[in-house]
Point group: C2
Chain length 118, copies 2
């Protein structure tokens, strides 16, 4: 898969994909005989997980730290699990808070609907 196809698949621009590679978020991307990148299904799995972490608000630096632990093999398993469990707690409380915000927003909209706002 070339960069254009991979870009379409992931929803990230070719620029962003090269940027992710530059900062170390994507590693060991294969090249064809003319030096063009060739992405594999493994790259797809990894980038999809990266995108999930990113979409849940994890900064690239922290994803990078997960990535580098991953490439250090099984001695980092506990640490990676810790990181993910910590992220899970953050995400749960984020959802909780957004739910409260939603309710407050719906209350405000009700005020508009009943003409109690000017």
């Amino acid at each position: 898969m070339n960069v254009k196809e991979f870009s379409k698949l992931t929803g990230l621009s070719a620029h962003t994909l090269r940027y992710y590679e530059k900062i170390g978020l994507l590693k060991n991307i294969n090249r064809n005989q003319s030096g063009h990148r060739v992405y594999s299904p493994k790259d797809t799995d990894w980038i999809n997980f990266v995108i999930r972490l990113k979409d849940t608000g994890m900064p690239l630096q922290e994803i990078l730290s997960y990535a580098s632990m991953r490439s250090n093999g099984s001695e980092t398993l506990v640490c990676r699990q810790q990181l993910l469990e910590n992220h899970r707690l953050n995400l749960k409380s984020h959802i909780q808070k957004q739910q409260e915000h939603l309710e407050a927003l719906e209350h405000k909209i009700q005020l508009y609907k009943s003409g109690k706002v000017s």
Copy 2:
């Protein structure tokens, strides 16, 4: 209330509060005889709503647009309500998506717990 107290109340730094005023998000803040800002309960209500919008991911530009409609009085009521209802839909789908991310994350953590990840 001076800027320090208002900062503590809102959780925003004094720098940020002045910045919000500079870009037009806070308007007509009173001053005492020596030119220092004096924040009122009305300012508190407004900033709290601003913070809610911000925390739900609304860009300052859009909050600003709500703010400027608000200061244009009742002829913008419908438009403001529209903006909030649209934001409500975005927020609902955000929460939905985060919920899905949470489930995928919990699944991944299960893989770690059962030793299926290396």
